[in-house]
C-alpha cells in the first residue's frame, strides 16, 4: 500500500484517497452531531485498518502509512470534506507516536499491532479535578513498591474511558521536586483491580467524558514508558497535527452552511440583516481558511509550528461559537429543542452545545492567551 501512495504526486494522492473515502466511509456515520462511541465508529475504524490507512503518521515499519506532512494533511482534509467520523483514536494519535519514540522494543512489539487491529482501545488519563488548566499540578500518586507502582487518586474528563480497555496516565512518582519533574508515563489495562469508571454527562447529555478512580491499582514496572519522572516532557512534546486540526475551518464552514439553510427554513434568507451578518461570517471564514492554509503549508514544508499556532485554535473555535450563536437567534423556538428540528435536518441547539467545549478543552482560550502573551509577545510575567 505505502509504496504505491509514495509514488503519487499530491494531486493524484488527493484524488486517490478521495475516491476511496467516498466508496468506503459508511454514509450513515458521516457528519455525526456528536463524537461516536467505539461501538459506533468501529466499522469505519476496521475499514481504515484493513486498508492500512489507520496510522498515516506512523513509520511503515510499524504498520503506518509513513506519509510526509503534506500527504497527511491532504488525507485529513479529505476525511473532513466527507464528514468522516472521528474514530477512537487515542492509541493512533497519542500513544503510538509516543511509544515509537520512547517505548521499549517489547512495548512497541506488543502494543502497536494491537492498536492497528482495534484490539486495544486506549484512553488518555491526563486531567485531574483539582488541576484544571494547571495540568502539571496533577496528584495521581504512584508509590514505588519495588516490582510495581501502586496508584491512588483520580483522573477526570477522560474521553470515552468507558470504551477503552487500556489507559495511559501521567502519575506523580516524585513529590519532592518541581511539579513538572516528578511525573511518569504509565500504561495499564482498564480491568486492573481497583479501577472504576464513572461517566459524566455533558451539556449535550452525552457520556463523552468519564471520571476514572484508582484505588490501590498495581502497575508493573515494565509498564513505564521511557524514563521515570520524564513523563511530563514526553506528553508535552506530543503536539503535532492536533494543534492544526483543531483549527480547521471545516466546523465553521459547516456551521455557516447550516445557518444559511436555517435562514431559508425560517423564511429569512433574504432578510437584509441576515445577509449582512452572513457576509461578515463569510469574510471571517475566508480569512480563517487563509490562516489555516498558511500553517498547513508550513507543515507541508516540514516546518514545526511555534506557539503562534494557538492563534488558529482561538480564531477557529471562537468563530464557530459565534456562528452557532447566530443559529440560536435565527431558530426562533427551535433554538430550545432537545432534538433536531422536524423537517430539515437542522439542530441549532446541538450545534450551539457542540461549540461550547472547544474553547474549554485542549487549552482554554484564556490559557492560550496567557501562553501567547508570554511565548509570542514576550510580555513580562
Amino acid at each position: 500500500m505505502g509504496e504505491s501512495l509514495d509514488a503519487l504526486d499530491e494531486v493524484a494522492f488527493r484524488a486517490h484517497v478521495r475516491g476511496w473515502i467516498e466508496a468506503n466511509c459508511p454514509p450513515e456515520l458521516r457528519h455525526p452531531q456528536r463524537r461516536l462511541h467505539w461501538r459506533d465508529n468501529k466499522p469505519w475504524y476496521l475499514k481504515l485498518s484493513a486498508q492500512g490507512w489507520l496510522a498515516p503518521a506512523w513509520p511503515v515499519e510499524h504498520g503506518g502509512m509513513g506519509l510526509d506532512a503534506a500527504k497527511q494533511l491532504i488525507l485529513i482534509e479529505e476525511l473532513e470534506r466527507h464528514g468522516a467520523p472521528r474514530i477512537s483514536d487515542m492509541g493512533v494519535l497519542m500513544l503510538g507516536p509516543l511509544l515509537i519514540k520512547h517505548g521499549s522494543e517489547a512495548q512497541k512489539a506488543h502494543f502497536l499491532p494491537r492498536i492497528l487491529s482495534g484490539e486495544d482501545i486506549w484512553a488518555q488519563g491526563y486531567s485531574e479535578p483539582n488541576a484544571g488548566s494547571d495540568l502539571a499540578a496533577l496528584r495521581l500518586e504512584a508509590i514505588d513498591q519495588g516490582e510495581h507502582w501502586v496508584l491512588n487518586g483520580q483522573k477526570t474528563w477522560i474521553t470515552f474511558a468507558n470504551d477503552a480497555n487500556w489507559i495511559f496516565v501521567l502519575a506523580r512518582t516524585d513529590k519532592g521536586v518541581k511539579k513538572q519533574e516528578g511525573i511518569s508515563f504509565l500504561l495499564l489495562p482498564m480491568d486492573s483491580p481497583g479501577i472504576s469508571v464513572r461517566p459524566i454527562l455533558n451539556l449535550d447529555l452525552h457520556d463523552e467524558f468519564c471520571e476514572v478512580f484508582f484505588d490501590a491499582v498495581r502497575v508493573p514496572k515494565d509498564r513505564l514508558v521511557g524514563e521515570v519522572n520524564k513523563g511530563w516532557t514526553y506528553a508535552k512534546a506530543l503536539l503535532g497535527f492536533e494543534r492544526i486540526a483543531i483549527g480547521s475551518p471545516r466546523l465553521s464552514a459547516n456551521g455557516l452552511a447550516a445557518l444559511k439553510r436555517l435562514a431559508e427554513a425560517m423564511g429569512r434568507a433574504e432578510d437584509p440583516a441576515f445577509l449582512d451578518q452572513y457576509a461578515r461570517f463569510r469574510l471571517e471564514l475566508a480569512d480563517l481558511k487563509a490562516l489555516y492554509e498558511r500553517y498547513s503549508a508550513a507543515l507541508k514544508r516540514g516546518e514545526t509550528l511555534g506557539a503562534e499556532v494557538s492563534i488558529l485554535k482561538i480564531v477557529a473555535t471562537e468563530l464557530f461559537q459565534r456562528i452557532t450563536d447566530a443559529q440560536l437567534e435565527m431558530a426562533g423556538e427551535h433554538a430550545g429543542l432537545l432534538h433536531p428540528m422536524p423537517g430539515p435536518a437542522l439542530h441549532p441547539a446541538g450545534q450551539f452545545l457542540l461549540a461550547r467545549p472547544s474553547t474549554i478543552f485542549g487549552g482554554s482560550s484564556e490559557i492560550l492567551r496567557n501562553v501567547l502573551s508570554r511565548a509570542l509577545l514576550e510580555l513580562p510575567a
Binding site: A137, D325, L328, G332, G336, H339, T359
Partner: protein, 342 residues
C-alpha cells in the same frame, strides 16, 4: 415593604433563594414537567391572576410586580408555566364573561393558549384550522384556548386536544395542537396585543433572573476555585470579563424595569411595543452571553450536566426566543420607536 419587595419575598416559596435545584432536576424531562401542587400554590398566592383586575377575581398588580415575580422564578428555574398561565388569564378576562377564568385563577384548571402558527412571531392571525405550535408545557394543560379569526375580529375558543410533544433543552417541552374548539367569547385585538407584550416582557424578566443567578454562581466560583496557587478570580483578565458580564446584567435590569414602568404608566401601543421589544432584545442577548460565559468561566465542570450552571444556559436557550427572538424584536423596536434624537 413595597409590593415589589413583598412579591419577591413570597416567590421564595417556589424558587428558594438558597439555590437548591433538586426539585427542578427531578422534574426535568418528565410529564407534565412541573409540579401541579406548586402550580396550585402559585394560583392561591394570586400570581395567575396578577394582571386581572380585582373585580374579575384577580390581584390587579402592575407590570413592575409581574416582572419582579418572573425574575425570581427565572432565578429559581421554576418550570411551572407562570407566563402562559397569566397570558390565558388576560385573554379570558378580556372576553368579559368567558367561562373558565375562575378555575384558572384558583389553580383548578390550566387552559393554555395556543395562539402561535409558526416559529418566531408575535402575531396571532387566528387562522381557522391551522395547527397551533410551541405551546409551552402543553402536556400539563387541562385544555386549550384558541384565538380564531371570525368576521371582523377574533373569537376565543376553548378546545380539548392531545398535544404532540417535542422536548426542550431545559427539561420542559412544547406542544403542537390541531383542534376545533367551541366559541366562548369575543377577543378584543387590543387585549391580545397587550397580553403578548406583557408575556414578552415577563419572559425578559425571567431571563434577567436566569442571567443574574448564573452570574452569581460564577462569581462564587471565581472567588473560591484555586488554580496556579491562587483563586482564579484574582486573575485580571477574568475580573474584567466578570465586569463586562455585570454590565450586561445591569443594563438588562435597567431595560426591563424601565419597560415595566412604561407599561405601568399606561403608554400608547407604539411606545409600549418599543419598550417591550427593547427589553426583550437586551434580555435575550445578555442572557445568552452571560450564561455562555458562566459555563466558559467554570471550565470543564461547567460543561457537565451535573453542575447547575449549565441548567441556566439551557433555560436561556429556551426562553431567549420565546415571545419573539432578538432579531424579531429589533425589527419591531424600529417599527415602533420614535426617533432617537427627540
Amino acid at each position: 415593604m413595597s409590593m415589589v419587595e413583598m412579591i419577591r419575598d413570597s416567590a421564595g416559596a417556589v424558587a428558594p433563594r438558597g439555590g437548591d435545584l433538586s426539585r427542578i432536576r427531578a422534574l426535568r424531562f418528565t410529564r407534565p414537567g412541573f409540579d401541579r401542587a406548586v402550580w396550585r400554590q402559585m394560583a392561591e398566592m394570586g400570581w395567575v391572576g396578577l394582571r386581572v383586575a380585582e373585580d374579575q377575581g384577580g390581584t390587579g398588580l402592575g407590570m413592575a410586580e409581574y416582572c419582579a415575580l418572573a425574575e425570581e422564578l427565572g432565578r429559581g428555574l421554576a418550570p411551572e408555566p407562570l407566563v402562559p398561565g397569566v397570558f390565558s388569564a388576560a385573554l379570558l378576562a378580556a372576553c368579559g364573561d368567558a367561562p373558565g377564568l375562575e378555575a384558572l385563577l384558583s389553580g383548578e384548571a390550566l387552559p393554555l393558549t395556543a395562539w402561535q402558527e409558526r416559529a418566531d412571531t408575535l402575531e396571532a392571525p387566528g387562522t381557522p384550522g391551522a395547527p397551533r405550535v410551541f405551546v409551552p408545557m402543553a402536556a400539563g394543560a387541562t385544555g386549550f384556548l384558541l384565538p380564531v379569526r371570525e368576521d371582523g375580529g377574533l373569537a376565543l375558543q376553548a378546545a380539548e386536544a392531545t398535544p404532540e410533544i417535542v422536548e426542550t433543552q431545559d427539561g420542559g417541552h412544547y406542544g403542537t395542537i390541531a383542534a376545533q374548539g367551541t366559541r366562548i367569547g369575543t377577543l378584543p385585538a387590543k387585549a391580545l396585543d397587550q397580553a403578548l407584550d406583557e408575556a414578552a416582557l415577563a419572559t425578559a424578566a425571567m431571563l434577567l433572573g436566569v442571567m443574574e443567578r448564573s452570574f452569581g454562581m460564577t462569581l462564587d466560583y471565581l472567588r473560591t476555585r484555586q488554580q496556579f496557587g491562587k483563586p482564579i478570580g484574582s486573575f485580571q483578565a477574568l475580573q474584567h470579563r466578570a465586569v463586562d458580564l455585570q454590565i450586561q446584567v445591569t443594563l438588562s435590569r435597567a431595560s426591563v424595569e424601565a419597560a415595566a414602568a412604561t407599561l405601568d404608566a399606561g403608554a400608547a401601543p407604539a411606545a409600549r411595543r418599543a419598550a417591550v421589544s427593547r427589553a426583550k432584545v437586551r434580555a435575550a442577548e445578555a442572557s445568552l452571553l452571560v450564561t455562555r460565559a458562566a459555563v466558559q468561566l467554570h471550565g470543564a465542570i461547567g460543561y457537565t450536566d451535573e453542575y447547575d450552571v449549565g441548567l441556566y444556559l439551557r433555560k436561556a436557550m429556551v426562553l431567549a426566543n420565546q415571545f419573539g427572538s432578538a432579531a424579531l424584536h429589533r425589527r419591531r423596536f424600529m417599527a415602533n420607536a420614535v426617533d432617537a434624537d427627540e
